[in-house]
Symmetry: C2
Subunit: 168 residues, 2 copies
């Protein structure tokens, strides 16, 4: 019942998209830390439906989001040094583009989360302090929230969409 109701209140996207349960997947080993983390942030199948529905909107605006992300890092020159020492802005723009799009696939399983863990470890290895990671994450959330705000009509739609997005 609840799901049906949510389905009707579709998010407005450039390419509107019908998404339901069969298009998403939340399959995690119940004995893993991942499973507890998913429970602690209250991530549910309905959230994946929301994310999947936002995908076209995000994809159509991905370039602006990614550019803003790296522009924001310029506030702290040590971050630029870390990037130049280990990679390049151009290369990272490409990996972040793929990464953000994958967030909105609505497919979460152990393989997906292993990949996320690998990425977290990479950032630890290059000496990125958690506080800067969190600032960067907040900025990304800000871009996504602004975009979603501009493309949803009702308060309820907006709430469901950003509640799903912030869980990442």
């Amino acid at each position: 019942m609840k799901l049906l109701k949510r389905k009707k209140s579709a998010v407005i996207t450039e390419k509107p998209m019908e998404v339901d349960r069969k298009d998403v997947r939340l399959k995690i080993d119940k004995s893993s830390d991942f499973y507890k983390q998913i429970q602690m942030v209250h991530l549910k199948q309905e959230d994946l439906i929301q994310l999947r529905r936002l995908k076209p909107l995000v994809e159509n605006n991905i370039q602006g989001i990614v550019n803003q992300f790296y522009k924001n890092l310029e506030h702290e020159s040590s971050l630029m040094d870390i990037i130049e020492d280990n990679s390049s802005i151009e290369r990272l723009k490409q990996t972040l583009t793929v990464h953000i799009q994958e967030m909105f696939n609505g497919q979460i399983d152990d393989a997906f989360l292993e990949k996320r863990l690998k990425i977290a470890n990479i950032h630890f290895r290059i000496g990125l302090e958690p506080k800067w990671y969190m600032c960067a994450f907040q900025d990304l959330l800000f871009s996504l929230m602004k975009l979603i705000n501009n493309h949803t009509e009702s308060k309820e739609d907006f709430y469901l969409a950003i509640d799903a997005t912030r869980k990442y």
Copy 2:
């Protein structure tokens, strides 16, 4: 102009509250890392006005928020062990109550941020992994978002209020 507009769209709280620029303070040493972090998450004076305005609502519901926070930690028994080894649920419920209320004071200066840094260091010292801290933070944000959603009328009010809240 922008500020005036935001002021009119007041958040509905049990005790409605008129708040403007003179009630809030954002004063940080421009050469500090704090300053860069504030810029990176786009925290502005207007956000502090939003937070200050939410304060009565949060205070009237603080007990439920704090109880939910510690209930959520029960998903991971190692977190309970850390708590019992270093403190107690009862004691931490009190410190978290004060901490959350301070978030909504709308006063951010170097002393406030030093205190936050001290708290971050305490969590590092007791061996709390960042991933669990982030889950706990997301849960807190979830409680606050639900509360704000139930107590704002327009989509614009809701957006401004949660945009300010997530910046912490």
